[in-house]
């Protein structure tokens, strides 16, 4: 397991999610594909946190402070924020899907071409 292999897996999952967003008609499946893409990005961020260090630490720094070392975990903090935004997004998306279904009796994106209720 190295950085390249994890990025390979991340890119493949992202591609699958992108394909799902572009080709599926059901709103719920489109939302699930977006979640797949979020997950792939999180995987890449965590892999970068594990396998790389900031420039301030690379190449024999003069002094290494514990604050600087902690910055290595920035990738993991990034992933936590992405998870928070993804949770908000899926909540709102599903509520929208339910509201649209109640009003229009459809959840297919090809039928939802107007913004008028």
């Amino acid at each position: 397991m190295n950085l390249e292999n994890v990025l390979l897996v991340s890119a493949v999952i992202f591609g699958i999610g992108l394909f799902g967003v572009l080709t599926r008609r059901n709103v719920i499946v489109v939302l699930m594909s977006i979640e797949l893409m979020f997950n792939a990005v999180n995987l890449a961020a965590i892999a970068f946190a594990r396998f790389t260090v900031p420039y301030s630490l690379a190449g024999g720094p003069v002094s290494v402070t514990s604050d600087a070392v902690r910055q290595v975990l920035t990738g993991q903090a990034f992933a936590v924020f992405v998870i928070g935004v993804a949770a908000a997004e899926v909540t709102l998306g599903l509520a929208l899907a339910m509201a649209i279904f109640r009003r229009r009796e459809t959840v297919e994106v090809t039928d939802l071409t107007t913004a008028r209720g």
Binding site: M1, N2, L3, V6, L8, V9, A11, V12, I13, F14, G15, I16, G17, F19, G20, L22, T23, R25, N26, V27, I28, M32, E35, L36, N39, I46, A49, R50, F51, T52, Y55, L57, A58, G59, V64, T65, S66, D67, V69, R70, V72, L73, T74, Q76, A77, A79, V80, I83, V85, A87, A88, T91, L92, L94, A97, M98, F101, R102, T106, E108
Partner: protein
């Protein structure tokens, strides 16, 4: 930097193949409910890879929030809105061809960049600095900087048990918490506002409107 252990490699590839296979089934399954179950499986497999990447807190968050909350929310919505469970139709051959081309190109671009970039100048192991390696995965000793007692300077890999701290990845959850309340406290507060707004918005949108 590589994690050189045959066992870790085997676990990683099993998790990776499970995650990719489940992701394919999310898009390909005919039944939307099956897609949702495969989505949960994909989240679980990726959570396993998080453990290998020394992100234990994120693995727990992945199981609690993605598998426990997001997947269940999607499954409940599918069951409440019956027609959604009916079918997972494709948008037509034109969209499938262009979507496949676009997705393949994006993936290949990322993979090409990953394998053709020289990561060595950001690599903790290649930096061959013992202090950095000790501070990441070993244990280290630190002392206050001269003139500024608030800054801890890492002196060397710890030898004596007296003044040694575990490395960042050995204690990643605690260090992540310190990062949230020090460096990223503004973003941390904003994300809580975003979640509150999403909660209220979802309530307003999903509320049953009675005809008056």
């Amino acid at each position: 930097m590589t994690e050189s252990s045959a066992l870790v490699d085997v676990i990683f590839w099993v998790g990776a193949i499970a995650a990719i296979g489940a992701s394919v089934m999310v898009v390909a399954a005919r039944d939307v409910l099956k897609s949702a179950v495969f989505l949960a499986a994909s989240f679980l497999a990726v959570g396993g890879i998080y453990v290998l990447l020394r992100a234990e807190f994120l693995a727990a968050v992945q199981v609690l929030i993605y598998v426990g909350a997001v997947s269940i929310l999607i499954i409940f919505t599918i069951m409440m809105v019956r027609q959604i469970a009916g079918g997972n139709r494709s948008a037509g051959p034109f969209y499938v061809v262009t979507g496949a081309i676009a997705a393949t190109l994006v993936s290949l671009a990322v993979i090409y960049a990953a394998y053709n970039t020289d990561w060595s100048d950001l690599d903790a192991a290649a930096a061959s600095d013992q202090r950095v390696e000790a501070a990441l995965t070993g244990s280290y000793a630190s002392q206050p900087a001269p003139g500024n007692p608030k800054v801890d300077i890492i002196v060397a890999p710890a030898t004596a048990a007296a003044n040694s701290h575990p490395g960042v990845f050995e204690r990643s959850t605690g260090n992540l918490g310190q990062l949230f309340i020090r460096d990223y406290v503004l973003a941390f507060e904003i994300i809580s506002l975003v979640l509150l707004a999403a909660l209220i918005g979802a309530l307003v949108l999903a509320r049953e409107r009675r005809p008056t």
